[in-house]
Every structure is written in structure tokens, then in C-alpha cells.
């Protein structure tokens, strides 16, 4: 990646950000909100326009019109529609810059140290986010599905069950790709991280002093979870954190100022959070529950819920039209039992639950502790760091008299409970992380203010220890990505080293390049990481492919029927077939209906995570289906 490429990626991301904020200011003006130049106002503006831009991208995707021209035309159109919003954006940017300069001038040593940590962390994250895509889930579906949909009319992809989990925040990945490159998509995810950090700062500022709010923000950005999520993971989940924080901020302001429109805005943001992931629907639920308690108005809560649905149910409507199940495939056993692929449903449920999942009462009670202290079993919860758990006893000292603290507490508690009951996946709690940090640092500051010297010193030691650990971990992690970013390693060599199964994809591309053309037939593959495949393919792993039902493939004839339905001409095994299909495929090979045409021994990363650097050599064989 040359410096020019890096600059162009950042420039595009900056343009999208500026256009979004300006347009957001214009929308807020049209909705009769007072114009303010506060950090919060800018965040509200961004939070209202990104979902609207996503809707427009979705509209372009339906007929297959999304491409470079339409994407740039969309950005230009939004920039023009922003009109007077540009003045609001200018005032806001100038005010924020002045405020930062003012703060820098009179800041203490501790404050300057925190700012230096923040600046270094953000710079490192900005660089690492420029590396080519290597995130495992992103190569399976977050980036793969937008790539498959690019330039073709929107249609369900039943051979990739995860494609139904591609939601509204993924439309920003599509937008980035259409604007020129997947690295712009990664840049937009990084932007989501920065916006979330700003929202955390705004929430923490309501509960603590400037200095402590800054520390909470630094802890958020330096934590390995956030570092990974906003740089290399390629997952758009961070946008859920942004919208969740905005919902809390808007609801708090609405209650404080007794302004109905701010409360309705909170409903919109909560809906936008729900639009990022199925599990996000807990956010509008928690916000509406709090508003019901605080305002005791069913009418208000009903209107708020309606706005949430309008802002976040786009994908539910899409899935309902395609499959009859808005939360496909999780409600299929109830809504359409005859169409259930029990094996694929089970596969997806297992995939979205932690390995230690259990609803035994003692297990549920131990989950908040185990998630941080034994994170490998609980969806990588350890990467959040130990501070939330460590400072949890200080929550009693947080500013509970404020609506901000109560709102944050309710949303955090509801998210934690829903996570414990449904998946016990630590990393799905990313949106609650900002709320938890704001609350525990409010408690720590209060302990220090009360003169609890021993507790304060021990708390500071824990904080410094984590900052050193997280900083060193982030640096060690970044080391693998920086050579390609600085142009010292070429993209191909980097991907071979860091992208799981990249060599498999390259081998398949080379083997079938001359044979497979559009309409000529598909290759059925079983490798999980599909993003770098450049030949027509379908995914055949029955656990994650709704179209490949083992119940229909238990005989060679049944399997042949499914292969013909999916226009499969080639099959790639590495080294074996998936267990439920093994027998039928082996019979097809014995009957010479499936003939090997090429094979190679290739090295790939293995194990649960590439940071353990385990690799193995696997024989990959391409077979041709004979008519």
C-alpha cells in the first residue's frame, strides 16, 4: 500500500464524513432542531445521515445499480441536499477545533499524557485499518456478500446462510466498495470507531470530569477488542455501539429538556442500532422501557418504537419477503417448519453461541466474571480488558442521580442479560462497552474525589497496568500489518501470510480461471473464507449453507440433484468433504461422475485464531462433475 493510496482512502472517508455531518445538520434543521455547535450536535447529525445514506445504498442495490458512478453520484447528491447544513458543519468544525486548542493549552501533565496515548492509538489504528482485508468473519460474509451483490440485482443467497445476517451497517461496506475499494469500507468502519469514541466521551462527560472522560475514551480505543474491531476485523458491529450511545445521549437530553423530538430521535437511533445486527433489537426495547418508566406515556413509547422500526427494520422486511422469516433462519421452525434445514439452523445457532453456553442459573450468574476472565470460552470477552469488572464495585459511587447514568445502566443491564440468555458471546457486548466504561470511570472519579487514597491508588495502578498491556498487545498485533501498509511487503505475500485460506482461494482461481465463466457453471467450495475467490462459486458446507441440506444429499442421486440445482460443475475438497456429504461424494467419485482434475498441497492458518500462528498443510483437490 503506497502512501498515495493511504491518502486517497482517508480523503474519501473524510469526504463521506463531512457530507454526512453537513447533511445531518440540514435534516435536523428541517426537523426544527435548534442549531448547536456542540460535539453532541455533530454526532446527532452524523447519526441521522448514515442510516439515511444506507437506505439510499439499499435502494440502489435492489435493481443492481450500485457501482462507482452511482455511489459517487449519491455522495454528490447528498452534498448538494445538505445545502445550509454546510454552514452548520463549518461552525461545528471550527468550534470543536477551537475547543480542542483551548483544552490543550491549559492541560495538566496527566491530561497531556492521556491525549498523547489517544493520539498514538488513533494513529496506529488508522494505519492498520489500511491493510488489505484478512478478518475471518469478514472474508466469510461481512465483505463477501456486499461483493457478490455489487452490480447485480438483489437476490437471496441461500447457499450462504450468513448472507441473511448482512444488515444495514453492511450497506456502508457496500458503499465503500462502490466508491472505489474495500479499503474505503475498512476506513468507514474505522470512522465508526472514532465516532463511537466521541459518543463515549460525550456520555462520560455527563458523568465525570473532562480528564476522566478522556481516560475512559483512551481505554476504549486502546482495548484490544476495539483495536481489532475497528482495524482488521472487517466487521461493522462498531456502528451498533455508535447508535446505542447516541440513543442514550438523545434520550437523556430529551428528558432533561422535556423535548419530545429529542426522545423521538432517540427512538430513531435505537432503531439504527437494531439495524446493525439481530441482537440489536434489545436496544430499542431498553430505551423504550426506560422512557416508559421516566415519562409514563404509552403514546410516546409507541411513537418511539415506530421510529425504531422505521430506522432499523429494513433487513427484517427484506428477509420476510425472501423467506417469510424476518429473523431468518431463527424463526423458521415456527413460521415455516416444512422449509427448515435443521442441520444448517443448528450450525448457525452453534456458530453464534459461545462454546461454554449454558442457561444453568449458576452459569448465568458467573457469566459476567467468566466473560472477562476466561474469555476464550465466551466469544473473546477478554479483549475488552479487565477494567469494567475490576472497577465494577465502584459503580455504587457513579452519578446515579442523573438520567444519563440510569439510562446507560438500564441499557447495559438489559444487553448483558439478553446476551447471557441468548449467546454468551462477549464480543457481542461491544455496544454496552462504552456505557460500562462511562459508568465505572464515573465511580472511580468519585472514589478519588472522596479521598479514598488506597482505592484510588490501586485503581490507578490497575489502569496503568492495562494501558501498558493493551498498548504492547496492540503494537505486537499491528506489527504483522504494518509492512504491507508501508509498502515493504507486497499485497500477495501479505495475504498469503495473514489471510486464512488465501492460498486455497488463489489455487482455485488459477485452476478454474480458464474453465469457469459466467453461466458456464459454479464451483462448489467448502472453505470458509470466500472473499478472495474470483470464479463463480457456491458454498457447500452444510452447517452454513441453507441450500445444501444433508437430509436431501444422503444418496448420490439426491446430492446430484442439489448440485444440478446450484449449477455446480466443479467441486473443491480440502482435503476431505464435509462429514454429512462424505459418503455421497465418495460414491460419485467411485462412479467416475466426479473426476479430479487438479490438486496441490497448500499451507494455511489453522486453529481458533491466527494470533496463535498455527498452520498446517492441506491437500486441495479440484474435481469436475461429468454429465
Amino acid at each position: 500500500v503506497s502512501f498515495a493510496v493511504a491518502l486517497s482512502v482517508w480523503l474519501v472517508v473524510a469526504i463521506v464524513f463531512a457530507v454526512a455531518v453537513a447533511f445531518g445538520f440540514r435534516v435536523l434543521e428541517l426537523l426544527c432542531f435548534e442549531r448547536e455547535a456542540t460535539l453532541e450536535a455533530g454526532l446527532f447529525a452524523a447519526g441521522i445521515s448514515f442510516p439515511l445514506i444506507s437506505f439510499a445504498v439499499f435502494g440502489l442495490s435492489i435493481p443492481g445499480w450500485l457501482g462507482p458512478r452511482s455511489a459517487w453520484a449519491l455522495i454528490a447528491l447528498v452534498a448538494v441536499a445538505a445545502w445550509r447544513g454546510w454552514r452548520g458543519f463549518g461552525d461545528w468544525a471550527a468550534f470543536e477545533l477551537t475547543r480542542i486548542r483551548f483544552r490543550l493549552r491549559g492541560s495538566s501533565l496527566a491530561n497531556r499524557t492521556t491525549l498523547a496515548i489517544l493520539a498514538l492509538t488513533i494513529s496506529l489504528e488508522a494505519l492498520v485499518s489500511l491493510a488489505p482485508l484478512t478478518g475471518s468473519d469478514a472474508m466469510h460474509y461481512h465483505f463477501t456478500v456486499p461483493l457478490l451483490e455489487m452490480g447485480t440485482p438483489l437476490r437471496p443467497i441461500f447457499w450462504l446462510t450468513h448472507s441473511f445476517l448482512v444488515e444495514q451497517a453492511h450497506l456502508l461496506i457496500s458503499l465503500g466498495m462502490a466508491l472505489g475499494d474495500a479499503r474505503i469500507s475498512l476506513g468507514l468502519i474505522f470512522l465508526g470507531g472514532l465516532l463511537t469514541a466521541a459518543v463515549l466521551f460525550a456520555i462520560a462527560r455527563e458523568l465525570a470530569s473532562f480528564d476522566w472522560a478522556l481516560v475512559a475514551t483512551a481505554v476504549f480505543l486502546i482495548s484490544p477488542m476495539v483495536f481489532w474491531q475497528i482495524t482488521t476485523s472487517g466487521s461493522p458491529d462498531i456502528w451498533m455501539s455508535f447508535y446505542t450511545g447516541l440513543a442514550v445521549l438523545a434520550a437523556n437530553r430529551g428528558i432533561q429538556r422535556k423535548q419530545l423530538k429529542l426522545l423521538l430521535l432517540a427512538g430513531f437511533y435505537a432503531g439504527a442500532a437494531a439495524g446493525v445486527k439481530y441482537t440489536g433489537w434489545v436496544v430499542p426495547f431498553a430505551i423504550c422501557a426506560y422512557l416508559l418508566l421516566a415519562r409514563r406515556s404509552l403514546k410516546l413509547v409507541f411513537t418511539c418504537s415506530l421510529l425504531s422500526v422505521a430506522a432499523g427494520a429494513l433487513v427484517q422486511v427484506r428477509n420476510l419477503i425472501w423467506t417469510g422469516d424476518p429473523f431468518f433462519p431463527f424463526l423458521m421452525p415456527r413460521l415455516a417448519p416444512a422449509s427448515v434445514n435443521a442441520f444448517a439452523l443448528h450450525g448457525l445457532i452453534v456458530d453464534t453461541r459461545s462454546s461454554a453456553y449454558s442457561v444453568h442459573i449458576m452459569h448465568l450468574l458467573s457469566f459476567p466474571f467468566a466473560m472477562a476472565l476466561d474469555g476464550n470460552k465466551y466469544g473473546l470477552g477478554q479483549y475488552f480488558g479487565p477494567l469494567v469488572l475490576a472497577f465494577a464495585p465502584l459503580l455504587v459511587l457513579a452519578r446515579w442521580k442523573t438520567h444519563t447514568a440510569r439510562l446507560a445502566g438500564v441499557v447495559w443491564a438489559v444487553m448483558l442479560a439478553s446476551n447471557a440468555l441468548s449467546s454468551q458471546m462477549g464480543r457481542f457486548l461491544l455496544p454496552a462497552f462504552i456505557l460500562a466504561l462511562a459508568l465505572v470511570f464515573s465511580g472511580l472519579e468519585e472514589a478519588v474525589r472522596r479521598g479514598w487514597k488506597i482505592a484510588g491508588c490501586a485503581g490507578m495502578a490497575t489502569l496503568v497496568l492495562f494501558l501498558i498491556f493493551a498498548g504492547a498487545s496492540d503494537l505486537a498485533y499491528a506489527r504483522d500489518f504494518l509492512p504491507v501498509v508501508f509498502g515493504r511487503e507486497n499485497k500477495e505475500a501479505f495475504l498469503e501470510r495473514m489471510a486464512p485460506e488465501y492460498r486455497f482461494a488463489s489455487f482455485i482461481n488459477e485452476s478454474l480461471a480458464s474453465k469457469a465463466h459466467d453461466g458456464n457453471g459454479n464451483a462448489m467450495v467448502f472453505l470458509r473464507h470466500l472473499y478472495y475467490l474470483r470464479v463463480p462459486y457456491v458454498y457447500g458446507e452444510p452447517a452454513f449453507s441453507w441450500a445444501v441440506d444433508p437430509a436431501k444429499c444422503n444418496t448420490p442421486e439426491g446430492l446430484l440433484g442439489v448440485l444440478h440445482e446450484l449449477h455446480v460443475k466443479w467441486v473443491v475438497k480440502e482435503p476431505n468433504y464435509p462429514a454429512p456429504l462424505e459418503k455421497s461424494f465418495t460414491r460419485l467419485e467411485a462412479e467416475q461422475k466426479l473426476v479430479p482434475i487438479e490438486s496441490s498441497d497448500l499451507e494455511t492458518l489453522t486453529g481458533t485464531s491466527r494470533i496463535y500462528r498455527q498452520s498446517q498443510t492441506v491437500r486441495v483437490t479440484v474435481l469436475e462433475l461429468k454429465d
Partner: protein
């Protein structure tokens, strides 16, 4: 002259603080312990290199 009520409250406050310090020690120890396998694999890779 010392006020017994003040002493009592100071004692309670110190006890609470020591309990908190103990809690921090346990959480920190258990938290960093779980990275042992990762450190070992990284160290082994470094040695291999």
C-alpha cells in the same frame, strides 16, 4: 480527644478500600493469567524465528 464515631467510620472506609484492593488483585491476576497460552505461543514463534 478522639471521636469514636469518626474512628469507626474511618475504619469502615479503610476496610472497604482494602476489600477493593484485594478484589483488584484477584481480578488482575486471573485476567492476565488467561493469556499464558498466547504468550507461550508468541515466545515459541520468536524462538523459532
Amino acid at each position: 480527644m478522639t471521636n469514636p464515631e469518626v474512628n469507626h467510620s474511618t475504619l469502615n472506609r479503610n476496610l472497604v478500600q482494602f476489600a477493593f484492593v484485594l478484589w483488584l488483585l484477584v481480578v488482575n491476576f486471573l485476567y492476565y493469567l488467561q493469556f499464558k497460552a498466547l504468550f507461550m505461543s508468541r515466545f515459541a514463534a520468536l524462538k523459532h524465528r
